[in-house]
Amino acid sequence: MDMGIRLALTLTQIGVVMVAVLLTVAVLTLLERKVLGWMQDRMGPMEVGPYGILQPVADGLKLFFKEDIIPAGANKFMFSMAPVLSLVPALIGFAVIPFGPDWTVDVGGVNFKPFVITDINIGVLYILAFASIGAYGIILGGWSSNSKYSLLGGLRSAAQLISYELNVGLSIVGVLLLSSSLSLVTITNAQAGGFWNWYFFGGGGFPQAVAFIVFIISAVAETNRTPFDLPEAESELVAGFFTEYSGMRFAFFFLAEYGNMILVSCMATVLFFGGWYAPFEFLQGPESIHWLTGIFWFVLKVSSFLFLFFWLRATLPRLRYDQLMRFGWKVLLPIALANIVLTSIVAFLFPGN
């Protein structure tokens, strides 16, 4: 009986989170074009519905009804596996993100946390591990398409992901040292009480602002967004690793990219900007409405990071391949390592700040 209730609750929770994420992706596709249009002094999509707000529906329908083409000489099994391999890791990471207060509710004798699907004590590593699995979808998609552009895109992407994964991991270590936990719920709880307790601004004794900058740059690179979108550079590689994909398979890659963007924004929010906590305690309201204000602040922070992604895309030109590698290994990596050394010295000298 307990098992049944737990299963039902967890499945409902997973369903709600997945629907929320996929709806956000749909909204993001429109929002991105609108924001880009606004920054480039044009209108963006205007045809479907008032101000083009039905554009995501139209896009979805179009992708759904498109012909599914498998190129001649492609490896059919890999070709159909690759989009799935890239979408699943992008969505699975949301299982450990706490998007509201750390409450435990008793439902029919089962302890249930309504605002995080599962609070495992290695949450950060879990996300990193599955983010690194996402590379397979891209590499195999590029390889199995039997196309030069796809293969080049896949190879570039593999090199880029391995290099920048390292920086994402190392830039987080500072936060982990200060919070002495790998659980995202514990990390959020350690940042309670106002914005000066957030790790970005010096919660725990040493500001992680530099680490955050390294993190966000590496995260942009890991999600294959401009200015690091070499794997799909449209002016040189047509569309990179998904050149040969069409219809729903293409949509899967697309969903994976936007899902990764949201996941990375959630991570930045939880690790550096206090998760669901408000910048001042009085903005959080009384204990009973923490769930509402919590989700509000969480969504607000995540949206501002997503806006930052669009902003970067509208502002910066693409890097060259050698620039990308040099920047990752010779600039970001030493900074991240220096941050770890400094943070551990501070954490050792002033423990329990």
Binding site: M78, A129, I133, L155
Partner: protein, 173 residues
């Protein structure tokens, strides 16, 4: 229940490990290896070693195997360019290892094996969380092997740097 889960993971590990060696296409071999890593991670989870499980995926599946795939694609190996004339040596070594394993199981003392995983030990582990316990063990009991391992990695790194800088060093002399 636990036994069924264990045998599922164990049998998939054995089958995929055989596929890694047996499959003709190196890319499919790599994929079989990926499936195997995931099932090894699953075994770790059933032993309440979540940290090891995630590290297994992060390091082996996420970094090393991606690098391997990268090299395979870069070289663009054809199915024929492989080492199939090692059958006799492989057979000889395989028979020896298999005989050793059989001897170990038959002659060795297996009576104490099951006791290490008795349920009464688990709560003590869970109290601390296995990240902390691994860290403590590495920096106390196993400090020396840990340092040796890091030294070996350092040597490998220095070696790689020297190999890539070879031309530059020679030009100076």
């Amino acid at each position: 229940m636990e036994t069924i889960v264990f045998f599922y993971f164990a049998s998939v590990i054995v089958v995929t490990a055989a596929l890694v060696v047996g499959l003709r296409s190196p890319v499919f071999s790599a994929l079989a290896l990926l499936v195997m890593f995931f099932h090894v991670a699953g075994l770790f989870v059933t032993l309440h070693a979540e940290f090891l499980a995630v590290i297994q995926i992060l390091v082996y599946a996420g970094a090393i195997l991606v690098l391997y795939l990268f090299v395979v694609m870069l070289l663009n190996l054809k199915g024929e360019v492989r080492f199939h004339h090692q059958l006799t040596v492989g057979l000889f070594l395989g028979c020896m290892v298999f005989a050793e394993a059989v001897l170990l199981v038959v002659k060795g003392d297996t009576s104490s094996l099951g006791q290490n995983f008795s349920p009464s030990r688990e709560p003590a582990q869970l109290m601390q969380g296995n990240t902390e316990s691994i860290g403590e063990l590495l920096y106390s009991t196993y400090l020396f092997p840990f340092e040796i391992a890091s030294l070996i990695l350092l040597v490998a790194m220095v070696g790689a740097v020297i190999l890539t800088k070879k031309g530059i060093l020679e030009a100076k002399s």
